[in-house]
Symmetry: D2
Subunit: 382 residues, 4 copies
């Protein structure tokens, strides 16, 4: 294919002494929508709330962040440059609000929601915190960490404890007294259970036990394509936000209401009440009715509209049916799930519910989502 | 495949309350060598002499440039930020030598040659010029363009006229009096015949007629992966430099001696004396001896070791043989070229030379490289 | 990715002396749905009515054909082995109904519609004809070509003139007296305007002028993956059939009613009344309302849900708006279309219709589909 | 890219009433060479000795097998249709020598070595055996399995015990008395340690202990692209044969001399004496000399010319150097291996040997290949 494409370009050489230019927008300047269904009552927004630029220790100019995010299919991002860590400051003097200001026009041009944020960056404890929905980042540039957090709270920010395993032994999160303080005071309401390539099961459990909003972020410093092979289907970790509308206010309301899930590699992590409608909204059983006789194997054909491969393991089912123990419902494909009828006596129409666990939809650490696949079997005699 | 890979990651969840991190260097942090053969007497170095960073109007921190270039298989680059055009200067005060200084340690860590450069940026005429092998860029920051060029000449720089079609009608290069002056004085010795997505056949012809060194550069401002789908095989335009050794001095000597070729999309552009050994060094005829009889078709199997698809068109050949008129020798593949023997009288062993033109190896605008494919035919009777 | 996937497999080696087997259905045994929208009143079925097996001059056992077709997203196929051309008959004795009989159980298992067919194979004129919806192929195995066609007509077959350019000078179709006869008698009602890699514009025009059903078929002999790089997005030519239901009878009714389009490479070919709803059903304007002021450029963001890149060229539009002249709406991506407002006087809300031609949706040879892109502009003063 | 390629095809529409055909050989009709180095004294031939066609229970016509194998980079194949299992025989009467005869001209046209073979197919014990280098398969069609094997031995065949875990509990191979008999008598000299997706560590150990030739075969029945996503880099299991020349006789001599290795997924399995030169012939250390000081990290840059990712794990090394514990040397890429110098006293030039294990080069079940990476360190003081 490549060859002929290139040949085409070469054919353009006919107009001999003209410059041969291609003004057309490159074919990679397009957006891939991230495919997860909306769920009843909410739109599913794809968000990354932890991003750096040259204005702290990142490596790109702020305009690059909305461009990358738009192409990847994100709906909202927050640039959260470190307040206290400014390694480029000898070349680029500190100016905490600039990355937001510079990135805003590009975000608006692309219809991307840009949330003003910053990263409060202290040793552990208490560690790093992202403050989102700020009005003026400069007010957080104070010496005492409590004052910095309070300054954010006073601006009505939504605050997230970042990468809780950072600088802890084996990267296992430790809950210090300071964390009791900040959560009990209601200052901090979210926690990264995924940051970059790390998933923290312990933090996941804390979010369930202590009613904390689960967040997954990229914490990207490089141009995104140096860390993820986006064009081959890799993706940065993101937070799915189930929002009432596609606005910043609705995102904030959803974060305060814990309506999130985390999409990391081939994992979706969140509460059953959100993962369940995402699952059922992602699949379609193409043949809801099958005719089958004793000992016969038949295929249930299931299409997966989402971006994520669904890994299914059979649960305990009724005696009359044998089913495939492990099935992958590949993303954007129709897969086959094989079933066999075992009962020699039964005939007639029967509603079947196959019990499976989606092992990569985590409703708690190590615990997959239980689902039912329903279809109708017309059982016949030979 | 993806599924199982992801499954693997999920399996890691066994260590329940540990953070699950992947410290391993990502599989995309590797280098793809650009496959062109060395030619007799010279190593073939892959170079990009026109690159921007946040220190002028580019969008990445300087360290990103050697990282990108190394991964893509380049051997040498020059960061050439605009001297006179500093749109970020309110945030990032002008400092002409900084992008080189910041990028140098990363370049050395990766074994990449980094050449200190800068872009003299004036209206047309005379336009833009890249000065390479500078010692101090600040000395070029003067009002008069002649003085800027002279400052570079005094540092023994190699100077290139950039994108000669820029701001000319239909992007067709125009030769102004100023260009006569700078070339006659020996100030400028190179010319971009390719810049970004533009190839200038007229500039190509000037390089041939006036003995100017042919250069192809990316002029990249974005992170490279936003402009080129590197992971799917796209590449930025580069200059192949046929150097005596892998050093900066040797690159300079080669540029002064016009030993270059330009690699752009699926085109290789340069003098026949360099394109010819690149072609013959790229291919191998796997069956140099065939047995054939009248009217029979046989395959010549040719492997192409290079990164470029070789587009062949048959020339006028002797009467006894019929050959495939168009053949693509696909990059890194073994392709078939079909031949048929026509003479009913001849038998015995015969050395055959098939005359072809490599239409995407341009030895002049619109003119492909003539080549001969040699093999031995054992002609038999039925 | 690959590396880690493989590592996973290797990890399985823990159970030292067991065989390490992968019983799971391979990840390539899945179906890619071909993405074209249903149109009002009809389901859009993807069909290939010209396929060979080892039972004539093809190279695969009949069961392979439904397997391949299912994976590629087809809904219906017809195996149409040559009746008169049986090159394998010394090894595999002629049996005209066997390829259908062997392929049927696999088709039913996969929910694929298998239509019994055969290819009447004569020199030109009259050439080759596919008879679909046959009951017994053996009755067509007669010496006279008219009798063979009549035998098919008597079985109520739908008959197609195959590859009308076959064995004609430059592969340009020629209309012989025999063709006048067979179409006037109503024996033959369809014509291949695309066969394998050939598109016949002349046949396309005949279908328009003479009210013939347009058909595009693969005429595949090899395993499909040897001719098309399916896994990289290539596809065989197919016929889109706009049918009332997903049944063989409904396909036949649609063929008789000329409700078809042909999908070939990046071309969709058919009548405007079908291509138009396919286009509008394929796209969604993501921002139907924009705010714009004089001389400002804004983006219209358009998602293309279909498998085909939509190539748009601007038509003549009203004076107040400047629009991008050429846009590609890439398949399964959201692309940007740039517009600029030119009038200095107008303000307020205005409904805009941009006139474009979809140059790769052919409603006649060389003639693209006219379309309108509608959105609302809120025009403001600076 | 795709878009523009297609646009090019569309441009061809200018010649309005001509057929638009593409006679050029498709870009997928090319050969990918499988990249493993020759080793001292031998050429490394890539072979698959277990392949089926429609002449037993396979699904393709015999000519497809050399075409597939050639494209995948194989040098030699054997079609080994079952003698006793002929499920297509009602349609296709049994003829044991035909698949070889039909496939031979295509093999010769492509320069592929085709070895006449057959599969003796009996219940376990003794199971299935491939007899290679046969002269007449029909002589093996006898009732008693010993007589069938003896018939093959009398034709000087090389005989392989196929998939020894077949129909054994958990697919773990069991050594029956019959196997003692056939190996002690010298009838059978090879064993499949890999068949299709199964690797049998127990059979691997037997080959080491009992001096049996290790074989890996595909046992392919489908068109190869339905089982392996060849175009995305998957490969069927093959046997690397280290032969004196590229001939059938040399393959036989190598098989008798146990000069083989098995390439399966990302595993290479064989004796250390062959895996070791394959490893060293596959890599090149790009910077054999580094300058380093205490506590400094430096990169060793290693290119891997082979098709296989090399998975390295550090062994016990001397005290003065710290090295990356796990490294993947990605196929066809240059990867970085990081080392740190720890000794504060030593300076000067030192030859370093880093001890690693290539965990996916198995010299015994579960045992990787030990290797040394050598370079010179110039140790300096700060």
């Amino acid at each position: 294919m490549k060859t002929e494409y290139r040949l085409y370009r070469r054919l353009a050489l006919v107009s001999f002494f003209m410059a041969i230019s291609y003004f057309a927008i490159s074919q990679i300047s397009v957006r891939d929508e991230i495919a997860f269904p909306d769920i009843p009552g909410y739109v599913t927004l794809k968000c990354d709330f932890h991003i750096h630029t040259v204005f702290s220790d990142g490596d790109v100019w702020p305009t690059i962040r909305p461009e990358e995010a738009w192409r990847e299919g994100l709906d909202a991002i927050s640039i959260t440059d470190h307040i206290e860590y400014q390694p480029h400051k000898d070349d680029l003097p500190t100016n905490h609000n600039r990355s937001y200001e510079i990135a805003l026009p590009k975000s608006e041009e692309l219809g991307l929601l840009l949330i003003r944020g910053a990263e409060i960056t202290r040793d552990m404890p208490p560690g790093h915190f992202n403050a989102l929905f700020l009005k003026d980042v400069n007010q957080l540039d104070v010496e005492d960490w409590r004052e910095a957090i309070i300054a954010a709270v006073n601006q009505d920010a939504f605050i997230i404890w970042n990468h809780p395993g950072w600088r802890q032994p084996d990267e296992i999160p430790v809950w210090h007294d300071e964390h009791t303080e900040i959560f009990q005071k209601g200052w901090v309401k979210g926690m990264e259970i995924v940051n970059s390539s790390s998933y923290y099961p312990k933090a996941h459990q804390w979010c369930i036990d202590k009613n904390i909003t689960m967040i997954g972020n990229s914490d990207i410093h490089n141009p995104v394509n140096l860390d993820y092979n986006i064009y081959k289907g890799e993706h940065r970790p993101i937070t799915l936000v189930f929002a009432k509308t596609r606005t910043k206010d609705a995102i904030k309301e959803a974060l305060l209401s814990r309506r999130t899930a985390v999409y990391h590699n081939n994992l979706l992590i969140g509460d059953e009440q959100y993962l369940s409608p995402v699952f059922y909204g992602s699949i379609k059983i193409m043949n809801r009715e099958i005719t089958i006789k004793e000992d016969q194997w038949k295929n249930i054909r299931i299409h997966n509209y989402s971006d994520i491969d669904l890994e299914l393991e059979a649960g305990v089912n009724e005696n009359n049916i044998v089913m495939q123990q492990k099935v992958t419902l590949a993303a954007h494909k129709t897969s086959l799930l094989r079933v066999q009828w075992k009962s020699e006596k039964l005939t007639g129409t029967k509603n079947i519910e196959l019990l499976y666990t989606v092992t990569n939809f985590l409703i708690a650490p190590g615990k997959g989502l239980p689902v039912k696949l329903k279809f109708q079997a017309n059982i016949i005699r030979e």
